[in-house]
Symmetry: C2
Subunit: 281 residues, 2 copies
């Protein structure tokens, strides 16, 4: 499979690239970014996957995430995919809202027409793109981890719970933890999967834990000034589910922080250290 | 004087704000950003001024500069003004190019019609805005320093050379050092000041040094893959002028880096440490 280099900039001693490729899963061009830290010629390096939130592309975290300093120091490759397929052929939300369709793929494989053709973000981020990264970058497929923000935090938690042997660490900033129970998630899962709440459970971290899925441990940070906290994010539901399932959860409530990248960038280094410890263990 | 808060976000333990005010110098609304690090209630803190380059607003460095971590640690207020007046009344470049007019104020007080009414960026960044910062933020006016990128590096060097007792430190990323001798500068200084090269000299760091201006020392970083290096930036001219004038210049040629914020953010922490050492001496 071929990829096209959109841009490549030296940064923090490594290389920050943006790439484009034709995706077999989504049937569209997909753009993603990869930071490769400074490294010896033929080493392979652990890979941290970062999944972004509603309305974002790869660019938000690439420009505002402040991860390069830590990744350069810790020797981590950092990959940021887009949040949905895009293009003239791709149906969005007929109502044009921000929380469904373009920029809002929710990391699911849609089963409902007209979304099932292009909205295959689960397979894209768990299968297709990892293959591409392994082929084109000095990546060690045996050492991968995942984190994300908001909708991407939902993606990270569900990926870790469904593929616990595939990811050595998982963390999230302000994640949606129980999409089946909150407005954003009900709209998205209903729209992509139809009115079959049983089918939603494999895309819902809290439901997955209730159904027996397990992971070694999670790190979650959220801000207590986050405007989406009580209606959409509900960290309390994750806390309860982890407690009952005895999954160690390090949950930080950060005073005064909101939902923005000003928050994410503040704690990015902590998360990279969490990932590095587990990726290098 | 009143300011309006556009946004305020907690970040890296401090507060990142964006503000708007009616400027008496430019006769327009002006937007700027201020990061205030965590601090004790009634302390006053040193202020670092950051001047941005062509096409930028306050937002570029605020989002991509990666200065908050270091400023929080070192206790520095970081102020980022806009690069020109803006608004329906403000004349831009009739040809619509990026290197003159809107986003390209070059930190001069224009004397030529129709620019002289609004393009008063020198007085704005050296007089009006510092007064506003002193009034509204926990700033210590006796401890200020200045840095900038590209056109803003030009601004920082000229401000330091013309007001050496006002700034305790000065540094630059990829600065334009001799605008009178390079295409960007000839166009801008000619357009704002007219065809009077003698009048350009006070807005030209190399000419100022030749004319006797001095500063304690400078830190300058540039990338050897910067596409503007040999035509527009000419660090060699600054190096020669500083050598002849015996101004200590720490000049870093960074291998593989370009003109972008991927470069600036990489070395931002070094610059903040340089400023902090001198601001706290």
């Amino acid at each position: 499979m071929t990829i096209e280099t959109v841009s490549l900039n030296r940064s923090h001693g490594g290389s920050q690239g943006v790439y484009k490729h034709m995706s077999r899963e989504t049937g569209t061009d997909m753009t993603f970014s990869v930071f490769v830290p400074p490294h010896q010629g033929d080493t392979t390096l652990p890979v941290v996957w970062y999944l972004s939130g509603l309305t974002c592309t790869h660019a938000n975290v690439t420009e505002k995430g402040e991860y390069r300093h830590a990744c350069a120091e810790l020797g981590l490759i950092f990959v940021a995919p887009d949040t949905s397929p895009r293009g003239d052929d791709v149906p969005g939300d007929p109502a044009g809202t921000y929380d469904f369709g373009l920029g809002a793929g929710f990391y699911v494989d849609a089963t409902l027409e007209p979304f099932s053709r292009h909205y295959r973000m689960w397979s894209y981020v768990t299968e297709e793109l990892p293959g591409l990264i392994a082929e084109h970058f000095p990546a060690d497929p045996a050492r991968q981890s995942v984190l994300g923000h908001s909708m991407g935090g939902h993606g990270a938690l569900t990926m870790a719970l469904r593929r616990p042997n595939h990811y050595r660490a998982a963390s999230a900033f302000s994640p949606i933890v129980a999409p089946s129970q909150v407005p954003w998630g009900i709209k998205a899962l209903g729209g992509y999967l139809g009115d079959y709440p049983e089918a939603w459970r494999k895309y819902d971290a809290v439901a997955l834990i209730e159904d027996g899925a397990r992971f070694s441990d999670f790190l979650v940070d959220y801000g207590d000034a986050d405007q989406f906290l009580s209606e959409q994010l509900r960290p309390d539901l994750l806390e309860r589910a982890c407690l009952q399932a005895r999954i160690p959860l390090t949950l930080h409530r950060q005073t005064g922080y909101d939902h923005s990248y000003y928050f994410v960038s503040t704690f990015m280094e902590d998360h990279m250290r969490w990932h590095a410890e587990r990726l290098k263990a």
